[in-house]
Structure formats: structure tokens, C-alpha cells
Subunit: 249 residues, 2 copies
Amino acid sequence: MPPKKTILRDAAPYLPELTLDCVILSFHEDRLKVLLLRWKGTQEWSLPGGPIQRNEAVDAAANRILKERTGLDDIFLQQFHVFGEVERYNREEIRHKLKHLIDPDKWYERAVSVGYYALVDYTKVTPTPDAYTEQCAWWDVQHTPALLFDHNHIIHVARQALRTQLSWQPIGYNLLPEQFTLPELQRLYEAILGKTLDPRNFQRKMLSLGILERLAERRRGGAHKSPYLYRFKKEQYELKLKEGNLFFT
Amino acid sequence: MPPKKTILRDAAPYLPELTLDCVILSFHEDRLKVLLLRWKGTQEWSLPGGPIQRNEAVDAAANRILKERTGLDDIFLQQFHVFGEVERYNREEIRHKLKHLIDPDKWYERAVSVGYYALVDYTKVTPTPDAYTEQCAWWDVQHTPALLFDHNHIIHVARQALRTQLSWQPIGYNLLPEQFTLPELQRLYEAILGKTLDPRNFQRKMLSLGILERLAERRRGGAHKSPYLYRFKKEQYELKLKEGNLFFT
DNA sequence: GCAAAAGTGTTACTTATACACCCATGG
DNA sequence: CCATGGGTGTATAAGTAACACTTTTGC
């Protein structure tokens, strides 16, 4: 048992010098999207994030924020970097831009932030602003505005981390709806890797992992041959992920 | 400029809820070693680590601790995980074991820790205890004692991270003396990967990276053929590392 | 019928793996 | 002379990369 005594900083409901920021990514109309928040009474955008409660694990706080902003639970969420510089961004500029919203006694101190990224199904998300913001929306990750804090930098680092992780774990499982076509999956990989892939080689490699199941139906609607629908075979996917022999290079 | 006002927590010279822990690894007599500290008046060991100063970047704090405990500067040091659980370890047990050393008003609060690992040259290190400890020594990483806090767990996570990173960046550069033999490098890889490698395949792969230079001299001393000495070609090594095409699988 | 995108196989090349003998040295 | 560990090559298998045409669909 921890001691029962109360000291001053125990009174604060949050860990005062630690925050987290979530780079919540999805895939829609062949583009990677990132979820951003617009602060009340401004045209300023930032990543979702915030402080960590004193009795809350950091991972739990990331899940809480994800849940609050998207409505989604139980999602792939990955710590990718700690942003621990003393002057991560111009605090005076933030003070100026957000002065109508935040108590200067509580904010603008130096804070270290833990960066997380999440991969979510665009169709399942209900973007929801928080107490400080009035709009929550998807932005094309290639065309975000200039963000508050060091959030453009955080997105950049997240995308690098994601590219690295791609070799170790196929990611479509989290980013796509339950049913999808191989060309859709290929375009997702192309969006993340930032280069085009050969469809024959892509299909051969992806199918050889043994984690996809082809369904009887096809997707209809375009003026072209109808592609087959696939879905992930959950058990095989989880099994291979655990064994660590899911590579895609 | 940040505001000039002083609020209570500004008085603390450290960020109170954030610490870091360093898994400092080296290689000696064919074994991976980890640097541990023994706390004053006890037989209890822990990793080097500690709080972060209010005006100090987290990476800078890790470098400071590395420097203080080893005498080394400018070393490969890598953030690998944030340990953010609420109950990372039994605080009451720590309170009991270290009660003669630490002020109960300041310690035993929940703290989040950033884990770093460093790879250092065993021969260049002068193990140096800190203010709370009376011994600083290398332990075989396979045979550490039961450590304070959650430090056995932290070492375990560090080793996993190291194994993953091994594929992306050859690591002998940091762990070996300037001159070394290929069998020595191979034994280092074997120690990290936990399996034996074929010497012909190992040498071919390692040399094909183009970052090693064979010297004229050989290492003498054993009752066997004298192995060649090698050293890293610093420029090529750094260049390839930056380009990201240094793989070892 | 025509434009758009999907589906599909083969070959060359590169990389990884498996495997065994001789050589230099110190004692 | 002998025990120890270092140095070295080749053959096979696996994986990766490059490449183009036919099919289906909606309009």
C-alpha cells in the first residue's frame, strides 16, 4: 500500500508535467487522414491529447482520449516517441493564441509528451471535440495546416515510425473496414510508404502471409471488373503477430 | 518568453512525476553485461537513472546519467519505452528497503519512467556510483539479481527492443573497442540474438555491408590461428545509417 | 464500343542457407 | 604433436523484382 499522506502535488488531479498526444490515422478515398481539433473561437488546430490523470496508466489515458474523440474502444494504439525537449514550441505564442481558453496559472509550463499513434477504421469514427475545441475533423495527412504546439513535428515522427513498423506487422487490420479489396489494401500501403507497388507482387506477398480470406462476393460499382472482397482471418493474424513472423518488405 | 510568475511546482528543481532509467549494456568475455548500482547500506541493486531537471531535455538527462555513471560522452543512447503504469512496483516495499536513504515526502509517489538503452565499450567505462549508492558494477545480463523497482522488467523490454533494432543498425560500433576481430563481433551478435550463427555466412553478410576495414595486424595470444583485426569505417557507417539501408537479418 | 481498373504468370536476379576442411598458433 | 579456434567456398533454395495483356463492368 502506498502511504496515506497528502502532500501538495497530490492535490492536482493530473500529472502536471506530462501529457500525451495521439496521432489518429485513418484511410479514406485513397488518402491517409489524421484527426485534428479546432480550438474554440479560433482557426487553430492541434492533435487530440491532454494530461494524464494521477491514478491512470499512460496507455489507459491514450485509450481514453481515443475513445472520447472517436467513440472507438480496443484499438491498435502504439507509443512511438517521447517528446522531451525543454522548448518544444513557442509557449508565448500559444499563450497568446489560446489566452481566452486557458488558465495561465495552469498552462504554459514545460511539459513532456508521450506520442501515440492509432490506426482506425474511418467509417466507424464519430469525430468529437473536447472541452476546449469546437470542431473535430479528418485532414489529409499530406495537407494539414500549421498546427499548434509541435504537432506538425509529432505527426512527422509518427509517420516515420509507422513506416518502420509496417515491415513487422501488417496494418490493414486496423485501418480498413471488415471487408475490403486487395487494390484498396494496396493503396493503403502505397499511402503509408509513399510509393507505388506492383499489383502482382503485392497480391502474391500479401496472400502468402496466410492471413487473408477471399469472400464469394465482389465489390460492385465501378465501370470495370469487380474486385473480390477479402477479410482478415483473425486467429491466424493474431497468431503470426505473436510469433513475430509477419514481415512485409 | 515564458511567464515570470512562480507557482509552487516551479520551485522543485526536478519534474516530480517523471524519471528515466538507463539500461547500459556492454560486452565482455563473450557475455552481455549491464551496469547496476548497489544502494548504500543494502544489498539491493537497481538500474542507473533518476529524475529530470526542470530545464533539461529528457535526452539530455539520459546523457547526463550515462556520463556520470560511466565517464562516457557522445554515446549511442536510445529511448525504447515509456513505463507508465500506475503501480509499476510495490512502493511500500521500496519505502521499507530504502527508508534510511530517502525522504518520504519526496519519494514513493507515482512516477512515469522513460527507458533508454545505451551500448558502450566495456574497456572505456569507469563505473561510478551516485549519491544514493555505494557500488556500481557490471552484471551478466542473464544473471542479474532481483532488482529494485520494476527494473528486471525494464531490462527485459530493453533487450527485446535491442533485438528488433539489430536488424536496422549494426551495433558493434558502440559496443566494441576500436579494433576487434570478426569472431568477437559474431559472439556479440550471438549474445544479443541468443542463438549461434554460421561463421562463413556471418562474415560474408557483415563484410558485404561495406562498413568494416581489415587491418594488417592480427590479434595474437590464443593457441590457434591469429584472427584479423577490423575497425569500422566511420564515414561509410554513418552514411549508410542515415540512408537507412543497413540491414542485418 | 469504349474507358477504367482488376486479375493474373513467368523469368531473371538477388539473397539466404546449409555445410566441412585446412591452417596457424601456443603450449 | 596436438588441441584450439580462425579462415574460407560452393551448391541449393527461397525470395524479390521486373514486366504486359486480357477480363469485367458501367455508361
